[in-house]
């Protein structure tokens, strides 16, 4: 599985979305399933999946799927097909 696929899976699981739900354009404010509880699950999933420890500032800045790619990049995780 590519890292992009892994990231999509992590989002779907944390946000209780169906297996084929599109997630690449997700934004925190726009999606009702993306609340604070889902956010906590998501951060835990990203940390487990990619073996990183995400800083406080990055946790609260991670407000979209695309932002997640950028933030993971800072920790040396390359998200690609």
């Amino acid at each position: 599985m590519s890292t992009l696929q892994q990231l999509r899976e992590a989002f779907r699981t944390a946000l209780d979305l169906p297996a084929d739900a599109p997630v690449d354009d997700l934004q925190y404010q726009d999606n009702e399933k993306w609340d604070s509880l889902a956010h906590m699950s998501l951060i835990a999933a990203l940390e487990d999946e990619f073996g990183v420890m995400i800083d406080t500032d990055d946790v609260i800045n991670l407000s979209s799927f695309q932002e997640a790619i950028k933030i993971l990049g800072k920790y040396g995780v390359d998200i690609s097909e």
Partner: protein, 410 residues
């Protein structure tokens, strides 16, 4: 009843707008033109919705605070009436989405005295600034609002949460002194490596809405101590408008595990079968199952049977040791465990702010499906539900399920 002290301020962090006396007057005028005695009020964290709430309370119109994202038609169908008891001021829902939810009937006297009692023990004054961290239809969120308004303090309205940048920016900009959280939010704050030094005005954290693990109590109390602030552990139920006890921060370390002493004007009693009874001016008038119940007067006589088991030490500190009713909590929302068992082929227990459901010989797929279905039914995130497959349930000699054994297996 007027909850709005002339010095109180309510500021919307996102728009900068503030609540004025004119807003409340306009809301009162609008209400005067509405039919029916009861005001059904899906309340969002906005100036307009707070104005409507305060106006209803001021006019003596009983107001039902509802989840603005919920399906609320059934409330007005069940409870619309012109016959209401003159003491009745506020109606709150008892549980989440399960079963047949009732309304808690609160008098103006109960709401007012609880706001004052809380303000006393938390020492809330005109310089205090609270920020919204909980929905206002939830009794804890409502009591944070009330207890600050009656003392001329400030309430900052923030619709984002602790996982979002805007919340923390607003906390700094508006010099927030006080934040209120339920247990799962403390778990989140720990994950965020919450550091009170980043918010120089912050002095008080309060906690209610279920039992907070003692290691987190100690942890957050110590974090607050580094900035000269405090953690207030509290105990309440919607039925008590809602606060019953607070643990004085100075006694927290020595009384770890206690939910504190009764609020001024209240006291605890332990019944012969070990149930915690609370006596105080803030106890509800009773429940309402139908519209006709809204005409009833006080049926409690100031005594609340909490359904909790506990003990009180010689200095009056209450320790909760268990529950009589089969109730659980998921992310601070009360759920009836028997209802879960009626709807799903599982045996349900409380796993500490999580629901733990045991399914007999379930496959991995069945476990996953049950978890999805139960969390959807509860209207909660799936991380609040744990489903486990079990070969056989532990039984008591009388053949009933041994819930204690299940609980100790967690």
């Amino acid at each position: 009843m007027n909850l709005l002290h002339p010095g109180a301020r309510v500021i919307d962090a996102a728009t900068g707008s503030t609540l004025s006396e004119a807003d409340v007057a306009a809301a009162a005028e609008a209400l005067a033109g509405e039919k029916g005695a009861v005001v059904f009020h899906p309340i969002s964290t906005t100036i307009a919705d707070i104005a409507r709430y305060l106006a209803a309370v001021r006019l003596g119109r009983p107001v039902v605070l509802l989840d603005p994202d919920g399906d609320n038609a059934h409330w007005s169908e069940r409870f619309a009436t012109d016959e209401v008891h003159p003491d009745l001021a506020l109606l709150l829902t008892t549980s989440g989405s399960t079963g047949n939810p009732k309304l808690v009937r609160l008098s103006a006297e109960a709401v007012r005295s609880n706001a004052e009692q809380i303000a006393d023990v938390l020492d809330i004054g005109p310089d205090d600034v609270a920020i919204t961290t909980l929905p206002l239809f939830y009794s804890y969120g409502m009591s944070v609002l009330n207890s600050h308004l009656v003392r001329g303090a400030t309430v900052i309205l923030e619709r984002t949460g602790i996982m979002q940048r805007d919340f923390w920016t607003a906390a700094v900009e508006h010099h927030v002194t006080s934040m209120a959280f339920v247990p799962y939010q403390y778990e989140m704050l720990r994950r965020l490596r919450f550091d009170p030094a980043k918010y120089p005005s912050l002095r008080k954290l309060t906690q209610a809405g279920g039992r907070l693990r003692t290691d987190l109590v100690t942890d957050f109390s110590e974090r607050m101590a580094t900035v000269g602030g405090s953690l207030y552990v509290m105990y309440g139920q919607t039925e008590a408008a809602p606060r019953m006890a607070t643990l004085p921060p100075a006694r927290l370390a020595e009384k770890l595990g206690s939910v504190g002493v009764a609020l001024p004007g209240g006291h605890f009693e332990i019944s012969a079968d070990g149930e915690v009874l609370y006596h105080g001016p803030n106890v509800m008038m009773g429940y309402a199952d139908t519209a006709a119940d809204l005409a009833r007067g006080d049926e409690m006589g100031g005594v609340l049977h909490t359904g909790d088991l506990g003990r009180v030490d010689d200095e009056g500190f209450l320790f909760i040791t268990g529950r009589i009713k089969r109730l659980g909590k998921v992310f601070g929302v009360r759920i009836n465990l028997d209802d879960v068992e009626k709807h799903f082929p599982v045996t349900a227990i409380d796993g500490g702010d999580k629901l733990v459901a045991f399914a007999l010989d379930a496959t991995a797929d069945e476990v996953r499906e049950l978890r999805t279905k139960i969390s959807e039914w509860l209207g909660t995130h799936s991380s609040g539900v744990v489903v486990r497959s079990i070969e056989a349930l532990p039984l008591l000699p009388n053949g009933k399920v041994d819930y204690r054994a299940l609980e100790s297996s967690l």
